[in-house]
């Protein structure tokens, strides 16, 4: 049990030795092998890697010389499973269990990294190995919220303490008043990372001003935007950062109880949070008398059950209360009347992940990063048609082009960039002409999208923007809670019109009707999710109207996605008459004589595309 700063520093000094191999690349004769145990790498088999490592290490008698550590996400999910060996800091990518015996023998035993298994960007032509920080993916990043992810073992509180963990809490409880804390957070310019970008300090101020014996601090870890996984990675890689920040928030507003509402779909995050809360309680970082100051704070976990709307703050609280997660009218705002009717603050995981660093380094340090109105850094989950799928953290104001082309490594297969989607189902599609816009809250809104939680999905010329708008509306229809009519019925009608267009039955009046309906929903829906639900339609109508018109007037889908508008043809000149396509066709729509060009019967064709993907001569085209 830690009671004083000296005791905390004693734990820190001891644990600092343990992490110095990793953090300072200090050669103490013992190697640390860090294997990513985040969801991405676990899905690509990192558990098998750890098992194989442990077996080989045992076999080679290296047990005292090598520590195998399961960490959180390193960020470069596309190359998983990922393994980093310290003190050298070399980076093995797409590791397979079969590689392990060679790596253990040659590297861990004989000190010679196995270059052929290293991430190719880190090995120069002359054979020299560069550090991970110098690769294009990491060079432009600046890690604040993710600073411990992939560095510490998230299941050991000592390793968090070694990285200045719980120093901020001690500083706050022993040297600062609640008003001091709120002032630092306000001055830092931190805005909510969950999407709307409300100033965090002001939110805390409101809740502090509400007089009530019982107040609550909540954490929104119901990361529901499809394609966004930064909050999960923080919880998996650095859970104590969130726990410490929530305790600080409790002190600032005068609350003794907190809840973390986390998606049940994130089993690894839930497990690590449970471990972290238990360890924090054992060490006295949560409890009735934290650092002997008499300040009391307890934390509970609540699991979501798969409802997107529960990411909305009032719906989330209704759900913690054990009800259908339906939003309610604001005001009263949660700072006045929130969870169980008491004053409550709700912040997102990434917002909390910044708090301790702001307390330790000062408001000015944080405000020194970013743009005029958006301070600090932002984590993005890069996905879709991009080389380096994964997590990146960059200062606000970085351009989309830098993120996509430099850090993300551009688009695979020589395809052309078409749009970047930010903000999930509440956001919009950003066209090529806006790639050089500096990313911040206000700029993204001005071009018809929004920051959202930070999902950034890249689309290329093969993606149909009408289909994408339909995809998001299908999501919204499915996830609408049904409480208010504009969202429940309005999004359904939008979806129906979009379906009509993708089937080639749309009219030009439909486009106008849709636009009108979008603005109606925006103005009248009850909660933020309903109000932003038309954004995917509006932004695609704004930037990709040509594609809509092609569907409506020419009855074609330029990207070749919308099945009703497609037809497959065999180019007679290229067809060798091998008959492979007719054998593969599931509905017998292709016929012909061997060594003569074959033909597709468009009446029978179900447009599955099997013929095209099997043709060895490129003789089948769709259009």
């Amino acid at each position: 049990m830690i009671k004083t700063l000296d005791e905390l520093n004693a734990v820190k000094a001891k644990a600092a030795e343990v992490v110095s191999t990793r953090v300072e690349h200090k050669d103490s004769g013992v190697r640390d092998v860090l294997v990513c145990g985040g969801t991405g790498c676990t899905s690509s088999g990192s558990a098998n890697i750890i098992k194989a490592l442990e077996e080989e290490i045992e076999k080679n008698g290296l047990k005292d010389k090598v520590n195998v550590i399961k960490t959180g996400c390193f960020g470069l999910c596309a190359l998983g499973p990922i393994m980093i060996v310290y003190p050298e800091g070399v980076f093995y990518s797409k590791t397979e269990a079969e590689h392990i015996p060679e790596i253990v023998e040659q590297h861990l035993k004989n000190g010679e990294p196995v270059k052929k298994y290293l991430y190719s960007e880190t090995v120069h032509e002359d054979g020299s190995i560069i550090s991970l920080d110098e690769t294009p993916f990491y060079k432009k990043q600046h890690r604040v919220a993710l600073r411990n992810c992939g560095v510490i073992n998230p299941e050991h509180i000592e390793e968090y303490i070694a990285r200045d963990g719980y120093q901020a809490l001690n500083k706050v409880l022993t040297t600062m008043s609640p008003d001091d804390v709120i002032k630092v957070i306000t001055d830092s310019g931190l805005r909510g990372r969950g999407g709307a970008g409300f100033p965090t300090g002001r939110k805390w101020q409101f809740a502090k001003a509400s007089v009530n014996e019982q107040k609550y601090v909540c954490c929104n870890a119901d990361e529901g935007d499809p394609g966004a996984f930064m909050d999960r990675s923080v919880l998996e890689g650095d859970p104590h950062a969130v726990i410490e920040a929530m305790t600080i928030a409790g002190y600032a507003i005068g609350a003794n109880q907190g809840y973390i509402y986390v998606r049940a779909e994130y089993p690894i995050a839930v497990e690590r949070l449970e471990i972290a809360i238990r360890q924090a309680e054992e060490q006295g970082m949560l409890g009735d008398d934290i650092f002997g100051t008499g300040f009391k704070f307890h934390l509970g976990l609540r699991l979501g059950a798969g409802a997107f709307v529960c990411g909305e703050e009032t719906a989330l609280m209704t759900s913690i209360e054990g009800n259908r997660g339906e939003p309610r009218v604001r005001p009263p705002f949660p700072a006045v009347k929130g969870l169980f009717g008491k004053p409550t603050i709700l912040n997102n995981v990434e917002t909390y992940a910044n708090i301790c660093q702001i307390i330790l380094n000062g408001a000015e340090w944080f405000a020194g990063m970013g743009t005029e109105k958006s301070k600090g850094t932002k984590v993005f989950a890069l996905g879709g048609k991009i080389h380096n799928t994964g997590l990146v953290e960059v200062p606000m104001g970085t351009t989309l082009r830098e993120v996509i082309e430099e850090i993300g490594g551009g688009i695979p297969n020589g395809k052309k960039f078409k749009a970047a989607q930010t903000g999930g189902p509440s956001g919009g599609c950003i066209p090529p002409q806006h790639l050089d816009i500096p990313i911040d809250y206000d700029n993204l809104i001005s071009i018809g999208s929004m920051m959202g939680s930070g999902g950034l999905i890249v689309m290329d010329e093969d993606n149909c923007m009408v289909d994408i708008a339909k995809f998001f509306l299908e999501f919204t229809v499915d996830e609408s809670c049904g409480k208010c009519t504009p969202c429940r019925i309005g999004t359904k009608r939008l979806y129906e019109i979009l379906s009509k267009i993708t089937e080639g039955k749309g009219t030009m009046e439909d486009l106008d009707k849709m636009e009108k309906l979008c603005y109606y929903i925006k103005d009248n829906a009850l909660c933020g999710l309903g109000q932003t639900a038309p954004n995917p339609v509006l932004s695609t109508l704004r930037y990709f109207r040509d594609e809509y018109i092609a569907h409506v007037k020419d009855k074609t889908c330029p990207a070749g996605v919308c099945k009703s508008l497609l037809s497959y043809k065999i180019i007679a000149d290229k067809c060798k008459g091998c008959s492979l396509c007719s054998k593969k066709c599931p509905v017998g729509a292709i016929s012909g004589e061997i060594r003569n060009p074959f033909k597709i019967d468009s009446e029978k064709c179900i447009k599955c595309g099997v013929c095209m993907s099997n043709c060895k001569f490129g003789a089948i085209v769709k259009g």
Partner: protein, 164 residues
């Protein structure tokens, strides 16, 4: 509106009921206890048929309507049993732009079931899910705990064959 009931007859055991009642007794006075209790109940029974909802309503002394309302609101609560092999196809954005919609359609066709359905032999059930967060492997599907990534439509038959 008719209650959503399951086509499969309820076969809960006395042991399961005893475990459920124990959990309810332990948690029923916690603030907001209904959701955690439903989650535990689904762990015990695998799904939440009306019979289980009735036990919860009676033991917690709340209306069945309230329990039913919460169960049918959240995607994770199911009133239908799941198959021996539970297939979930990710239809999150990152997977969708890489073609998971086609994979999902192919599975529906192969299994002859729609979203949320179960094959008559109880072997496979099929669901769409929203982003399991393995976007680096897109498109992905899961069969129970196994994750399959970087899929093409042609992989569907191979995966099903593994479980047949």
């Amino acid at each position: 509106m008719a209650l959503k009931t399951s086509a499969v007859p309820f076969a809960g055991t006395a042991e399961q009921e005893a475990r459920l009642k124990e959990i309810i007794a332990e948690h029923k006075d916690d603030p907001g206890a209904l959701m955690p209790i439903l989650q535990k109940a689904q762990e015990i029974y695998g799904y939440l048929p009306i019979e289980v909802q009735t036990i919860i309503a009676e033991e917690m002394d709340i209306p069945l309507e309230k329990v039913y309302g919460v169960v049918t609101f959240y995607a994770q609560f199911t009133t239908n049993p799941k198959g021996k092999y539970k297939i979930s196809v990710c239809l999150g954005t990152a997977c969708y732009v890489k073609g998971s919609g086609d994979i999902y359609n192919k599975l529906q066709e192969r299994l002859g079931v729609e979203s949320g359905g179960i094959t008559p032999d109880g072997k496979f059930s099929l669901d769409a899910c929203r982003c399991i967060g393995a976007c680096g492997l897109a498109p992905v599907l899961t069969v129970n705990e196994d994750v399959y990534g970087r899929l093409t439509v042609d992989d569907v038959d191979k995966i099903l064959a593994k479980y047949n």
